[in-house]
């Protein structure tokens, strides 16, 4: 079995959703189109469709998260699935039960899907390689590797505002080195045909081989966002950065913080995105975050529809093929 095939079942349907890398363009388009259909569910009076009735979805979070977990939970509930939230302090697993033992136990409870967030890169792949054949795995963020549902909801948001991907310039600004969000966005943007993807940040936060991902590297924000259609600001993980990677928040803001003045260098109709949660005054100033070009809250709303799409495509595939 080739590793990249792990995301598809033997009939070629999407079984796991672990990374956007290597997914065909059409799969990404299908996800966006399906999400478009689900986007009205939230504004209906009865906010539910019965697609995953009787299915049990486990949110398995080895790392803290409020927004991602909540939107996954809402997405699952709007698809009529039962949801189990398990938050695991990683230190307790390392002492006692192994990750695999925990999975076996959850499988024994007849669950159907694991939505996994874990601090180690590759954790979702590892789990997908070892789960029982009827279980689907969705990666809700693994280390610095991938956060593919975030990547897809960002594509959804971009498509809503820009319609086509073929003529866009997109700049991703901040800590590319440690960002699973950036990696997933880059793979998605490239696969959807965006001709120019830029990453912007200091050398300490951009891998030396970043261009191998298919991006243009900038170390100056003004140059990096000049004439772009989309500006994506990344969250600065302050705890991790300060010291050897960055001298101070103030200096970072002065160099890489998005202000109205710097944003004016982008195209006039450029949109500003951020995966949240925002550090106001560190990577972005409030007038921009709350300003007319910001689509940050839309991203959150869109996250539910996109996650519904991915859950229904992966978990609904057996019902579909049985019909």
């Amino acid at each position: 079995m080739k590793q990249q095939d792990i995301q598809f079942d033997n009939t070629g349907k999407l079984r796991h959703f672990l990374t956007i890398e290597d997914l065909p363009r059409q799969t990404l388009i299908d996800i966006l189109d399906t999400a478009e259909n689900f986007s009205t569910v939230g504004s209906q009076q009865a906010k539910k469709v019965p697609l995953l009735r009787g299915k049990t979805i486990v949110n398995l979070f080895f790392e803290g998260s409020t927004r991602t977990r909540t939107t996954f939970e809402l997405a699952a509930k709007r698809l009529s699935a039962d949801v189990l939230n398990i938050n695991i302090n990683t230190s307790s697993t390392s002492k006692g039960e192994s990750l695999l033992d925990m999975l076996r136990n959850l499988e024994a409870m007849h669950t159907d899907m694991f939505v996994v967030r874990h601090g180690e890169s590759g954790a979702a792949h590892f789990i997908a390689e070892h789960v029982a054949p009827h279980i689907s795995v969705i990666n809700a963020g693994d280390g610095s590797h991938a956060h593919p549902t975030q990547g897809m909801l960002d594509m959804f948001t971009i498509r809503r505002h820009k319609q086509e991907f073929q003529n866009l310039r997109v700049a991703i600004v901040g800590d590319i080195m440690h960002s699973r969000v950036a990696r997933s966005q880059i793979h998605a943007l490239n696969r959807l045909g965006v001709p120019e993807v830029r990453v912007v940040g200091p050398h300490t936060l951009i891998p030396r081989t970043a261009s191998s991902l298919g991006v243009h590297v900038y170390h100056n924000l003004r140059e990096g966002i000049k004439d772009v259609d989309v500006v994506i600001m990344l969250r600065l993980q302050k705890e991790r950065m300060l010291g050897a990677m960055l001298p101070s928040e103030a200096e970072y803001f002065s160099q890489y913080g998005l202000t109205e003045e710097k944003l004016s260098l982008a195209k006039p109709d450029a949109i500003v995105m951020h995966p949240g949660p925002i550090n106001r005054g560190v990577e972005i100033e409030s007038v921009v975050a709350d300003g007319p070009q910001s689509v940050i809250l839309e991203q959150v709303t869109n996250g539910i529809a996109v996650r519904m799409a991915i859950m229904s495509m992966t978990l609904g595939r057996k019902q579909e093929s049985a019909e």
Binding site: Q3, G122, F126, G143, P207
Partner: protein, 426 residues
């Protein structure tokens, strides 16, 4: 016991033998080549037709996991795997538990090995007590107890002053220091080469500079201290270049490479294949090609297995959380033969890198088939094809990235100290 090995193609780099010869063994020694001594009546005749007869392989680094981690391997299980791999002498690095920093641990290992008896086991002593990087070990005592060198393994000595003193002291007791050039600060707990794969997968990277900076550092101190040093497990093209340059400038240095580094690159990690989690990490194709060339040119003198058997659970976790290392004894010969088949090495050169030179580096009376030498002999079929199935491995560790690889070359018989310690007549 008298043994005759007949009709084999004998390859002995030390004595420049490369052709059909018979070997006659009495008790633990080779007593004649070519013609049997008068009145020699063999108790055992080994027909080595179409086989290569080589001095037994000498492995510069094999972890047997005893004492301390017997769930991964024991002296019995791993020396048996060594014998099956044609290895007749191997050296254990000091990072056992307890660390090899007292004669008692060395005695324990030798005692256990006498009971097992599949190959010769040598020990590398700790350069600092408990490998703590601050307090010099009792190197003279360690040497008296049988240590063939000293090393701090992958534990860095952060204080350059301690490193300098350790090197000076080792020089005064005439022990070679086996240095693992990887700066811990620059490696920064990384788990893969800092390059396109670590960037793609979001794995913490170990930059090339972690190795080159350490090599530079060590070279400066060699100049100061007069220590005799050996560089272990090189991985980068630039480090090879620096060491070649130092040799050209007159430094007396040697170096080795792990066999897997000659065949794998960072690309083999694919999507987080934990069997490719090794320390130091797999690097780029350019580095791998430079390592292969360096082995061909003798810039790197020895190939070792860097055997690190693991239990199954050690590799069952997300990549960075798995334990590094490969159970590598059983692939040492076939991976080295690939270099011969690729036209990079002659058979004689391969045996030199696997036996003669590593024996010299360790200061052993081994690695050649001279008359009166100990009868440590490996007989192998260089043309036998087989497919590596982890479940068939003799080592307790089945952790290998070479699963399902088609291998060529297989050991038929191994003699250690004049005894047949491994035989496979299939």
């Amino acid at each position: 016991m008298k043994i005759a090995i007949s009709n084999g193609h004998v390859v002995d780099p030390r004595n420049q033998i490369n052709g059909k010869k018979d070997i006659f063994i009495q008790d633990d020694k080779i007593i004649a080549l070519d013609k049997a001594p008068e009145g020699f009546q063999a108790d055992l005749i080994i027909d080595a037709s179409n086989k290569i007869v080589s001095p037994g392989f000498v492995d510069l680094s094999a972890r047997l996991r005893e004492p301390g981690q017997e769930h991964k391997g024991t002296i019995l299980s791993e020396t048996r795997a060594a014998a099956a791999s044609g290895v007749t002498s191997l050296c254990i690095p000091p990072d056992t538990s307890p660390v090899i920093d007292t004669p008692a641990v060395i005695e324990l290992i030798h005692q256990r090995n006498e009971e097992a008896g599949f190959c010769r086991v040598y020990t590398m002593g700790a350069l600092t007590m408990g490998l703590n990087g601050t307090h010099l070990s009792e190197m003279a005592h360690l040497k008296d107890a049988g240590c063939v060198g000293v090393s701090n393994v992958m534990n860095c000595i952060n204080n350059p002053q301690v490193l300098r003193r350790a090197m000076e002291y080792a020089a005064s007791v005439d022990l070679t220091i086996f240095l693992h050039p990887q700066d811990a600060g620059l490696a920064n707990n990384g788990c893969a080469h800092e390059g396109v794969v670590s960037t793609r997968l979001g794995l913490a990277g170990i930059p090339e500079a972690a190795e080159t900076q350490a090599v530079a550092n060590f070279l400066m101190l060699v100049e100061q201290t007069g220590a005799r040093i050996h560089f272990c497990r090189l991985t980068t093209s630039r480090a090879i270049h620096m060491i070649s340059r130092a040799k050209y400038d007159g430094f007396d240095l040697t170096a080795d490479v792990a066999a897997h580094q000659l065949h794998l690159t960072e690309m083999d990690i694919g999507y987080f294949n934990s069997q490719c989690h090794v320390q130091p990490p797999l690097r780029t194709q350019r580095d791998r090609d430079a390592l292969r060339q360096a082995i061909a040119d003798s810039q790197i003198e020895a190939i070792c297995s860097d055997h690190q058997p693991h239990d199954v659970d050690a590799k069952l976790a997300p990549f960075a959380a798995t334990e590094p290392g490969i159970s590598a004894l059983e692939t040492l010969l076939p991976l080295s033969l690939r270099l011969v088949n690729d036209g990079l090495l002659t058979m004689m050169e391969m045996i030199d890198r696997l036996s003669t030179t590593p024996a010299e580096i360790l200061g052993l009376r081994a690695g050649h088939l001279s008359i009166n030498a100990k009868a440590d002999i490996t007989i192998f079929d260089p043309d036998k094809h087989w497919v590596l199935k982890p479940q068939n491995m003799l080592s307790d560790g089945h952790n290998t990235p070479f699963k399902n690889w088609e291998m060529k070359g297989s050991v038929v018989k191994t003699l250690c100290n004049g005894q047949v310690v491994y035989s496979n007549d299939k």
